[in-house]
């Protein structure tokens, strides 16, 4: 097997050819987001143009700039490297003509490697980039993730070599002392976890990489896997040396086929070069890894659920102890970290504990990746120091789109919470400040919510998801989520019962007896919204009115003006709910499904009105025989 120096010697020319090209090079971002925006067509168009246009074309992963995909970087000998956005296949010919010899200003996002010029700002000065410390993301959108040479040429696997020369306890001590904790949302000390596995007595020992990023609205791990897969393998190799693990599984969700392909490609390339296998780079470390393709189950994001899934079972979490470090995959000692945690560990050890501790907060040193989506102007993935304020992150994302007001933040998936703007804005992004609020920071997904959203509708979505994804093992979680969803459904139908707030409180107190976090954290968003948006609950339940005009049972679509556009509205209606009487259009409320299609085509002519503005509300649901005072709320132990 070649030595590391040999690998490096072969890798460097390959990297230099694209880093400092001898003629213009167009680097197209190819990732799940960009492909959805047509980046494959852009790549094909540019390749064709380049063949006769005097430039080369290659691909990279994800810059995180989802808001301007397809993104293309152009590197020119003697010229600045420029990042461009919205380069569709249709725009490619005019773009290529301008970018091959100068700056295509129409598409320019920023100058990557220097100061502003020709009216184009430096990338580092943009709101989107100013906050960022791209340590884990340093290769994202820079190297070709399908070519190990690029990774190696940029010091890849050198950190592992250095770590493998250290004493294992010392290595673990560096990780523990760095404050590095699990980036998935659990925030358990990574060094301590590695030590548990090192100290476990049974053999063999295993590593698992949790790549089951199931929190809706989070795609941090996808960005790393699609852009820099070897960083994860290097993190796992370091953990394998520190803990004595000899084999690993990357449990990767089914929704990420491109990440799956790139991880498998990276593993194959690392094996070929003797980086994975019997004697990693001649260090004596024996470690190999395989990808397990998940099949769509949110609870497999729980480490014991994930282990059950690898063990040929339904992905049901179980009670701890035994902890995975005692009994995990195939009943052997196992350490589970998520993708970003392995990436963070490799990054910490690359830059050293001293520099690492210069960024972040006292309790949480270093950086964290976040994805921002929802009501923001710019959707994407960024890496910022721990302790960055939510308001700063929102500013980086261009604020709330459309001039609407910032209503709330839904962070970390359905188990971490929803906080109103006035509480969220000043919060530093690190786990501790969220806890006294009865919330968590979660794994990095942040969905911003504007004033047009309805809190009951939002709870309907969340409680449906939680019920659907409950593994069903414990009654508190399975039945609790069924009841919680039922209450939100009937509230949205306009059939809320006066006892519902007490019933919700009672459920909240019961959920804590669930086996795993899926159950015990199920009421978090409901608790947060009951606390901060109680007026909306009352508007629905007491006044039979949905202020945001979202809940189907409390609104009606009506024809307000007999305009010409109403005929188009009638034609688009998938429920055939429009009726015409003596030339006048009306909507048959019994047929209307509240899909909004009519208002999309005739916004002026169609209005949404309160259903019970001047009519009697529907009778409360049959469950409503319970008197509010008979609902007992169980005290917390």
């Amino acid at each position: 097997m070649p030595s590391y120096d040999d690998l490096r010697a072969t890798a460097e020319p390959a990297w230099h050819a694209v880093a400092m090209p001898s003629r213009p090079l167009f680097v197209v971002s190819l990732n799940t987001s960009s492909i959805a925006s047509g980046a494959e067509a852009t790549l094909a168009a540019l390749r064709e143009l380049g063949a006769s246009g005097g430039f080369d074309v290659t691909a990279t992963g994800d810059t995180g700039v989802s808001w301007a995909e397809p993104v293309v970087e152009v590197r020119r000998p003697g010229g600045p490297a420029v990042l461009y956005g919205n380069v569709t296949a249709e725009a490619a010919p005019a773009f290529a003509r301008a970018a091959v010899s100068g700056i295509a200003r129409e598409h320019a996002i920023g100058i990557i490697d220097g100061p502003a010029r020709e009216g184009v700002p430096a990338l580092a000065d943009l709101d989107w980039y100013r906050l960022q410390v791209r340590w884990m993301m340093r290769n994202c959108g820079v190297i070709d993730p399908e070519d190990i040479a690029h990774y190696i040429a940029r010091d890849g696997y050198a950190t592992f070599l250095r770590c493998a020369a250290m004493d294992r306890d010392e290595l673990i001590q560096v990780v523990t002392g760095s404050t590095l904790r699990g980036h998935s949302g659990s925030f358990f000390s990574t060094g301590t976890k590695w030590k548990f596995l090192k100290d476990a007595r049974a053999e063999p020992k295993y590593l698992v990489c949790n790549a089951d990023e199931g929190d809706p609205g989070a795609w941090v791990n996808r960005v790393i896997m699609e852009s820099d897969p070897h960083l994860i393998l290097e993190g796992m190799l370091i953990a394998s040396y520190a803990s004595g693990a000899t084999y690993g599984w990357i449990y990767l969700r089914d929704e990420y086929p491109l990440a799956n392909r790139r991880m498998n490609m990276a593993i194959a390339q690392a094996r070929e070069r003797g980086i994975l296998g019997e004697n990693a780079l001649g260090t004596g470390v024996r470690f190999d890894v395989e990808v397990v393709r998940g099949a769509g189950a949110y609870v497999c994001g729980d480490e014991t659920g994930l282990i059950s899934s690898i063990n040929d079972m339904r992905g049901m979490p179980r009670i701890k102890p035994p902890f995975p470090a005692q009994q995990g995959v195939l009943e052997k000692p196992t350490n589970v970290n998520n993708v970003e945690t392995y990436a963070a560990a490799a990054t910490l050890l690359r830059i050293g504990a001293d520099e690492f501790s210069n960024v972040g907060t006292e309790a949480n040193r270093g950086t964290k990746m976040f994805t921002v989506s929802g009501a923001v102007a710019r959707t994407g993935c960024l890496e910022v120091p721990f302790g960055t304020k939510v308001s700063e992150l929102l500013d980086a994302a261009g604020g709330i789109a459309g001039g609407l007001a910032f209503k709330a933040m839904q962070q970390g998936g359905p188990l971490s919470g929803l906080l109103p703007a006035h509480v969220a804005a000043g919060l530093p992004l690190e786990p501790e400040p969220f806890r006294p609020l009865g919330a968590g920071m979660g794994g990095g997904g942040i969905v911003f919510v504007d004033e047009t959203a309805c809190v009951i509708d939002l709870n309907n979505m969340v409680s449906w998801f939680l019920e659907d994804e409950s593994c069903g093992r414990c009654t508190t979680c399975r039945g609790g989520n069924q009841r919680m969803y039922e209450i939100f459904r009937r509230t949205a139908r306009g059939e809320a019962h006066p006892a519902d707030p007490q019933l919700l409180e009672s459920l909240s107190a019961t959920f804590q007896y669930s086996n795993c976090f899926h159950g015990s954290l199920s009421p978090v968003i409901m608790n947060n919204t009951m606390k901060y948006f109680r007026d909306e609950y009352d508007a629905h339940a007491v006044e039979h009115r949905c202020p945001a005009k979202a809940c189907p049972g409390l609104i009606r679509y009506v024809v307000e003006h007999q305009a010409a556009a109403v005929a188009d509205a009638a034609a688009i209606c998938p429920a055939r709910a429009f009726v015409q009487d003596a030339g006048a259009w009306a909507i048959d409320d019994a047929k209307c499904i509240r899909c909004h299609a009519c208002k999309d085509v005739a916004p002026e002519a169609i209005a949404i009105v309160d259903k019970f503005a001047d009519a009697a509300p529907p009778p409360a649901s049959p469950l409503a025989t319970i008197a509010p005072e008979t609902v007992r709320v169980q005290a917390r132990p």
Partner: protein, 157 residues
């Protein structure tokens, strides 16, 4: 296809997988990749191959939402149930799809031409609200655009 023939074919398909090696998901994925769904008979064959009970294989096949137990439609429309989509009118898109196609999530039209699948967020939220037509992201949509698209899909040969 005769049952024996099918059994042999599936046996061949899953012959690389071993008991006690964490191969169940991979075996089910391979079957689904080949047939477009997991036929009942495959569960028996996979169970035998991995020395698991049929109940355990059936339990897993029905636990995970990505395994289909019925043949796939010719065109599969995934509806994203994620939060960014929801806040931007994803529910409108779902209602329009279901009403126009006359089916619910997880169902196929009578002629198996179109089917609806409840999809989970894949982080392409700049296209919210979105659907996936045979895996390809289409968005941002509104209800009216969805109705038009559904009508086109119904018309296609």
């Amino acid at each position: 296809m005769l049952e024996n023939e099918a059994t042999l074919e599936i046996q061949h398909l899953v012959s690389e997988f071993k008991p006690g090696d964490g191969d169940l998901l991979a075996a089910l994925h391979k079957v689904q990749h080949h047939y477009g769904y997991v036929p009942k008979i495959a569960m028996r064959v996979v169970a035998r191959q991995l020395r698991l009970s049929e109940a355990r294989v059936y339990g897993a096949a029905t636990f995970y939402s990505e395994f289909r137990l019925i043949p796939p439609p010719r065109t599969l429309v995934g509806w994203c149930s994620g939060p960014a989509c929801r806040f931007k009118g994803g529910e409108h898109v779902r209602k329009a799809l279901e009403a126009e196609l006359g089916i619910g999530m997880g169902e196929n039209t009578g002629d198996d031409k179109l089917g609806l699948h409840l999809a989970q967020c894949n982080g392409t939220c700049e296209h919210a609200p979105q659907i996936w037509v045979d895996g390809k992201v289409v968005g941002p949509l509104d209800a009216a655009k969805t109705v038009r698209l559904a009508r086109e899909l119904k018309e296609q040969p």
